[in-house]
Symmetry: C2
């Protein structure tokens, strides 16, 4: 009988993981409250109930041989109970540490892993100490400890007025925050490592990420930061995964700065200051590029771990530069269409693959698809991403359909 | 609303095509009499009825925007009626020509495309003319005109006794046959071309195929036959696809000989004699290698045509040799297991991908999976295929499961 693998979350990461699992012969089951989520609408075995429905989640666990998650905002306390039924990879404990910015930062601090200088506070405490933020130091970022992604729940506080305005928002009462030093970022990079139950450890090439309005805009491999820095990043990613006891994937997002930040826990390699920003114990948006750039993708690696198949070391398939650009709902809105017209692709031979997630509703800033391409240099890669996206973001001139 | 694409046939080719379609945002529907076929058991939308059930096939067509097939033994007369409902790519006419060896050979002959010398006969006519086969010339092959694949329905006739024995099989009464000259084959190669509705034409690199007991054993790209020969093969494949009015994929299988065969319709390039063996108007077993070797796979190309997305020219991703090895049911039988243990993979860093089709029953010679790898030379590629398959074909020594 085929091994039954459960995925919590039916978004694009779950869909692409499901495809890798199916290619290894798995029977894939997906759980997502939204029956129209990309994986739910495609797969034969899907369950759509609220995340809080422990009875249905328990049934779902019972129907699988082992499980994973592609979505971090599942209540980890619930998963602690459920993983007693069937193994969850990575374990609930990994999610408990990584889904909360405070526990993540404390983990880094306890293990002396490099990270940005931070402080924890409850929003209501600002009432008794209005100078707290300025004492921490401006400019800084206030981030909710739980539930934020793609810049949601983040406040950039540059001036004393910003701090004052932030302290006067009634809707934030009861919310837990951390303050983070605002550092001069020279580069944001991510490193994905995969650790198996049997002690196999592999790392994907370091990926360079460029954000736009706090959402990942494009990813490029290989990174142009010095090789010694990349070696250190991979070492740190493995170290973090080992200390978290990750079985599965761990994506580590790093900030790199050329100016020494205030934190004492910083790794300094050839004048590059390395700080771990955050973890994602799952496939990552930046890792989409591995589907074309590497001989094994992030999804294949996780599928192998779940299916007990040995890992092979990922390598870049050529000496070229590979890039990934996100397609947000704004592109669909720009085309004034529900179904994206991809005919501009014919003018972009450098774009090798386009993936459309099949989400029904195109909302601004919603991740709806991505593309991967190949270039001879970094500048061309960035130019290609922007030009292809611009070409896609206007209403199509002619419809070229002809049924012969 | 997502475009609804129907696939006739739920085997491994249908499953992998479905994955490419889903990555382009399609809603995929599959029709296969076997509800346990690879694609049917995975996809949300599947229909399982007999191929002869025109009512259900008609309903299936109605629920799709356009359709294709991954399986050639569908009655083409039925498809002529159904394609009036919804467009079928390639059209039923392509299938009518290619699913019958006689019409295929007549098509080649009429267009003066190079092919093996042949003759058509009805089995019962051998009773009135027992010398017919010897008059055609020994050694030769007798092949049923309809329904044969993987060497099924083929008889190699070397001696007058073989011919006599062949003529005395009561179970062959009423069967239509062609005789083919037995040629000295220097190489068997395939070329897959993709033609879009909008006139775009692309070709995949020529693939070299090695058969074992008439079933494809391994495929290697790039081919080592002279470049001028490869250029001619691609030219012939495009020419055939144009003359057949293919919208979709056409796989052209060629025989290459270094000795001039009897046929007058032969292309001679630098002493290499080229003959078209047969066509498959669909993704092909040999094309699995394109999933790792090329920057766009055969499945992606067909998915783009069905989804009206422009094609990009396929290129090999590196200068290495890529190889694909089939995994037949015999490997499962060798392991004495239902679920294949892939732990030998850890000793084969050259093997980059393994695909398991999820078929429930492992029968001898049944295609159950394949693997793709990378080598620096042709000899190493062949050695790796055999060594990996041998390592897989013995019962696993230790089970290494440990749930931590």
């Amino acid at each position: 009988m085929a091994k039954r693998i459960g995925i919590l979350g039916g978004g694009q990461l779950g869909l692409l993981l499901a495809q890798s699992l199916i290619r290894l012969g798995a029977e894939v089951h997906v759980f997502d409250p939204d029956a129209q989520s990309p994986a739910c609408q495609m797969l034969a075995h899907s369950s759509s109930f609220a995340w809080s429905n422990e009875e249905e989640l328990s049934k779902f666990f019972e129907g699988c041989d082992c499980l994973t998650y592609e979505f971090e905002n599942v209540e980890s306390e619930l998963l602690f109970r459920l993983e007693k039924q069937k193994p969850l990879y990575p374990a609930a404990n990994v999610l408990r540490v990584t889904q909360n910015r405070l526990s993540e930062k404390r983990f880094l601090n306890n293990l002396r892993l490099p990270h940005v200088h931070f402080a924890h506070f409850k929003y209501e405490d600002l009432a008794s100490n209005r100078r707290r933020i300025q004492e921490f130091g401006l400019p800084c970022l206030a981030k909710t400890t739980f539930g934020g992604y793609d810049g949601k729940g983040q406040y950039f506080l540059q001036t004393p007025e910003d701090a004052e305005n932030f302290a006067n928002q009634p809707n934030l009462q009861g919310v837990d925050f951390i303050l983070e030093e605002a550092i001069q970022i020279a580069a944001e990079v991510s490193c994905i490592v995969a650790h198996s139950k049997h002690g196999q450890e592999i790392a994907f090439p370091v990926m360079e990420n460029i954000h736009h309005e706090q959402i990942l805009d494009l990813t490029i491999v290989p990174s142009v930061v010095p090789l010694a820095v990349q070696v250190e990043l991979i070492k740190l990613a493995h170290e973090a995964a080992r200390r978290l006891n990750v079985v599965g994937l761990l994506t580590v997002e790093f900030f790199l700065s050329r100016q020494r930040p205030r934190t004492v826990n910083v790794a300094d390699i050839e004048g590059w200051y390395i700080m771990i920003n955050e973890f994602a114990p799952r496939p990552h948006n930046s890792g989409h590029v591995t589907m074309k750039a590497c001989d094994i993708s992030q999804f294949d690696a996780l599928a192998r771990i779940l299916m007990d198949v040995p890992l092979t070391k990922p390598s870049l398939v050529s000496d070229d530069i590979y890039f990934m650009g996100n397609l947000l709902g704004d592109v669909w809105i720009g085309q004034q269409r529900n179904e994206l017209d991809l005919s501009p692709l014919k003018h972009f031979p450098s774009i090798k693959d386009v993936v459309i997630y099949g989400k029904k509703e195109a909302r601004s800033k919603r991740k709806m698809g991505h593309f991967v391409g190949q270039a001879l240099n970094y500048e061309q890669a960035i130019a290609d991403v922007h030009e292809f996206r611009e070409a896609l973001s206007v209403p199509p001139k002619v419809t070229q359909h002809s049924n012969r």
